[in-house]
Amino acid sequence: MEYSREIYWNVGHGAATLVPMYLLSFVAVAILVYLFARRIKIYKQGLPLNRTDQLPQRVSAMIKNVLLQSKVLNVRGPGLAHALFFWGFFILFLGTCLIFLQADFTDLFFGIKFLKGPFYLFFSLILDIAGLIAILMLLGLLIRRYEVRPPGLENSADDIIMHGLLLTILISGFVIEGVRMAVTESGTSLALWSPVGLGVAKLFANLDETTLLGLHSNLWWFHLLMVIIFIAIIPLTKFRHIFTTSANYLFTDLGPKGLVPTLDMEDEEAETFGTALITDMSWKDLLDADACTSCKRCQDRCPAWTTDKPLSPMKIVQQIGEIAEISPTTPLLGAIEKDAIWSCTTCRACQEICPANIEHVNKIVDMRRNLVLMEGEFPGEEVMTAMENTEVNGNPLGIAFASRGDWAEGLPVVTLEQNSDVDILYYVGCYASFDKRNQAIARAFIQLCDAAGVKVGILGKEEKCCGEPMRKMGNEYLYQMQAAENIEQFNNYGIKQIVTTCPHCFNTLNKDYRDLGLDVDVSHYTEYLAELLEQGRLKVTPQAFDCTYHDSCYLGRYNDIYQAPRTLLAAAGAQLTEMEKHRAESFCCSAGGGRILADENIGSRISEKRAQMAAETGAPTLISNCPFCLTMFEDGIKGAELDEQLQPKDLAEILVERLAG
C-alpha cells in the first residue's frame, strides 16, 4: 500500500472549507501588509542612505543569519534554543507550504500528488520532530524568561502573547494530528512515522469516532484562527522581528567595520550637524529600532552599563524607536540622557554581539556630534580643555608640540625632515609620544624594528594627534583639521607604509582617513612584527612567563586582529591564561570613544573591573597592545589594589626583553 494521508480530512475540501479559509488568510495578509506599510512610513522619516549596493553579499548575509541563525548562535544557551525553535517552526512552515502546494495547486490542477510513499513517511517524521523541538525550546525559553529571569531581561505583554500564541498553535497542531490518527491510523505501521502524533492519538483512543470527528473539526478551525491571528499581529508585536530583523541583515553595514561617516564640513547648505531629531538619522537607524528584540545581549556586555552608568545601548535604540513612532519632533536628548550618550566608550561590544545587526555606536557618535558642533557641549570641562589643547599643540595633553619627538633621542630612528628614505613611517600617536609610561612602547618598537633591520622614520614635531578621541567625542571639525595636516605630511614625504603602536591611530588612519584621501598601507605593530617574525627577520628568544592578554577593542572587535598578538606572545614564551572575556567578547579598558579625555565620575571604574578580571586568571602580568589600555590598567590595577599581584605591560615591552642578541 502507498503511504499517504488525505489532506483536508474530515474538514472537507469543498467551498465550505476553502472559501472561509482563504478569505481569512487573505484578510490576515492584508492586515500584515497594511500594518507594515504604516511602519515603513516611520522609517521613511529618516534620511536617505544607500543600503542596496553589493546585493549578492547582502542576500548571503541575510540567508546566513536567518536560516543558519549565525549571530543568534553566538550566545550558547538561549541562542541555541532560539535557533532550534526557529528551525522547527520553519520546517513546519515549509511543511504547510508543501501541503498547500499539493492540495490546492498540483493535485487540484494537474492531479499530481507528491506527499506519498517514502517521501510522505520522511515528511511526516521530520514535521513531528520539528514540532516537538519547537515546543520544547519554547517551553525552555518560557521557563528562562519567567522563572529563571536573567537580570536585565524585561517582560512585556508582547512576550506573553508570543509564547502563548506559538504554544497554542504548536500544541493544537499535535492534538489535531493525534485525533485524526486515532481515527485513521490506529494500529497501522504508518502511525509510527508520526511518533508525537501517535502519543497524542493514544490519549484519545477511548473516545468514540463521532466525538473525535467533531473535536477534530473544531480544533482544525481553532488552529487556523490562531495562525490567522499570528500573521495579522506580526507588525504589532515583537513578532515583527521575523521581518524587520531579516531586513536588517539585508540592509546591514558592510563595512569597513566601525567606520564613522565623514561629515561634509564645507557644506554651506548644512544648517545642522549630527543628530538632534530622528529626522537627522538615516532610515536604517529607525529600522534598527524595530529590529531590536530586547534580547539585552548588548546591555549585558556594555562596559558602561555593567559599571552602573546610565547607558544601555538597547534602551537607546528603543528610545529612538519610540520617539520615531510616537513623537517624531521630540528632541532625542530630552528622552535620552546626555550622560548616557557621554558614557559610551565606542567599544563595539554591543554591535558585535547584536543578533539583529543593529548599529548602536554611530548613533551615539552622531548625537555627540550635535552636542559638540551645535551646542559646544562636552561631558566636562576637562574634555573642553583637551580639545583646546589639541587645537593649540596637536595633542590632548597640552604638551608643547615641538617636544613631540623628544622620546626618540638616542634611538636608531630619524625624523623624515632629516631623512625621508625609510622603510616605514612609525606614526607614534600622542600617548606614546608624551606619556612617560607609554614612551616605553615607542622605544621598544624602535628597538624591535632596528633588530629586524627595518629603517624607521617618525614625523616628530610634524606629527599631530590622529584626531580619534576628538572625533568619537563628537568633534568632527577638530578631527578633520588634524587629519588634513597629517595627511599632508604623509603625502609630502611620499610615505608608502605606516605602522602604529596605537590601535586607535591604526583604525583611524586605516579606515577613517581613507575618506579624506589617504592611500597608504597602514598596519598595527602586532601584525607588522608577526610578519617580520614569520619572515625570520625578527628573532625573539622565548623565555617562559605567565600572563593574560587583553584584546583591545580597536584591534579586536574593530579589526578582527586576534591571532597576531597571540603568535607574538607564543614566540616570546608566554603561558597564556585567557580571561573569561576575551577576543570578540573582550571587556573595554574604558578609554575608547574619547573617554581617555574625560573623568569617569559615574558608577564604578571600568578599568578596575577589567583589572579584577585579569587578576582572576592568577597570571602576574596583564599584556595589552594599546597605549590607552596600558594607561587605564596602570590606574585600574592600583585602584583595585591589585598592584601586589598584577603588572600591566605592553606586548612590545615583552618582546624587546627577549630580543635574540
Binding site: 564640513m265 544648517e271 550637524f273 559638540v372 558642533l373 551645535m374 551646542e375 559646544g376 557641549e377 562636552f378 570641562e381 573642553m384 580639545m387 583646546e388 587645537e391 593649540v392 599643540n393 596637536g394 597640552g398 604638551i399 608643547a400 608640540f401 615641538a402 617636544s403 614635531k461 571639525y477
Partner: protein, 257 residues
C-alpha cells in the same frame, strides 16, 4: 551699544621658550599660539553682554603680525561681530604705554560704551594696558573682575583683591573693565559660528596709520630663570621626619651650629 574687546595672542605657556638673538624677547620658532587666557574671559563676558542687551555691536581688537588673525577668528567664532587688526610685526618691542596709545587712538574715534580687556597678558604680564587705555580715554576702569553685571548704563562688578578678599564696585559707562580668572567659563565655538566667523568683517590697519608713540620702557635683556637646586620631599611618619630634618639641617646647613 558699542562694545570693544582687546585681545592678545600669546605663546602656549607649555612651549619651550628660548631667548631670541637680540636678547630682548623670546624666539618665535616652535611656539604654539593661542589667545591670552584672561582675554578669553574678556571675550566671553563681552559676548554674554551682547546677548543680554541684544542691540549691540562687538568689535575685537588685536595688535600683531598676520599670525594673530587666527586668534581673532576664534573671538569672532565665540560671538564678536567684527575684527580690527593693527598690523605690527614688531609689537613685541612696544611697551604697555605704546600698545595702549594704539588702542586708545582707535577707541577714541569709535566711542565705545564698554571696553573689555584681560587683566594681564600671560607672556609680558604687565597688567597695565587696560588701565592705561582708560586713562588715555578719560573713562573709569574696573580691574581684575570676577563678577560682572550690566544694567541701564551701569556696571556692577566684583574685583578680586589680595588674600581672597573681594570688593564690590560700580561705575557708569563708558568704562573699561579688565577680566580675571573665575569671571566665567569661556564657551567652545560651535561649528555654525566658526563658519560664520570666516565671513565676518576683519579690517587690518598698518600700525603707522595710528600714529604710534615711542615706548617709555625698553626691555634690555631677557634671561631664563636661574637654575636652582631641586626641592627635597621627605617621607615617613612624623617622628622619623623630624629625625631626617634634624640630620639634614646639621649636615647641610649651619642653622643648628
Amino acid at each position: 551699544m558699542k562694545i570693544l574687546v582687546c585681545i592678545k595672542q600669546v605663546p602656549d605657556m607649555e612651549s619651550r621658550f628660548k631667548v631670541n638673538a637680540a636678547g630682548n624677547w623670546y624666539e618665535e620658532t616652535d611656539l604654539a599660539w593661542r589667545m591670552n587666557e584672561y582675554d578669553e574671559y574678556a571675550v566671553e563676558q563681552a559676548v554674554q553682554l551682547k546677548q543680554q542687551v541684544g542691540d549691540a555691536d562687538l568689535t575685537v581688537l588685536c595688535i600683531g603680525s598676520d599670525r594673530v588673525k587666527e586668534t581673532m577668528k576664534k573671538a569672532l567664532a565665540m560671538g564678536c561681530d567684527r575684527g580690527f587688526h593693527i598690523a605690527d610685526d614688531d609689537s613685541y618691542l612696544k611697551d604697555p604705554f605704546a600698545i595702549a596709545t594704539l588702542i586708545a587712538a582707535y577707541a577714541k574715534e569709535q566711542s565705545f560704551d564698554l571696553i573689555f580687556t584681560g587683566m594681564q597678558s600671560q607672556d609680558r604680564g604687565s597688567g597695565q594696558v587696560g588701565v592705561l587705555v582708560a586713562e588715555m580715554l578719560g573713562i573709569p576702569s574696573l580691574t581684575t573682575l570676577v563678577e560682572f553685571s550690566y544694567a541701564d548704563g551701569t556696571v556692577n562688578a566684583k574685583r578680586e583683591l589680595e588674600g581672597g578678599i573681594k570688593a564690590k564696585v560700580s561705575c557708569a559707562t563708558p568704562a573699561l573693565v579688565t577680566c580675571q580668572l573665575g569671571l566665567n567659563t569661556p564657551r567652545y565655538p560651535t561649528l555654525p559660528n566658526i563658519m560664520k566667523a570666516k565671513k565676518k568683517e576683519m579690517i587690518s590697519t598698518p600700525v603707522a596709520d595710528l600714529n604710534p608713540e615711542a615706548s617709555l620702557l625698553e626691555v634690555l635683556q631677557v634671561t631664563p630663570p636661574e637654575k636652582k637646586g631641586g626641592g627635597l620631599i621627605l617621607e615617613g611618619d612624623p617622628a622619623d621626619l623630624a629625625d631626617q630634618l634634624i640630620k639634614l639641617l646639621k649636615e647641610k646647613t649651619t642653622a643648628l651650629a
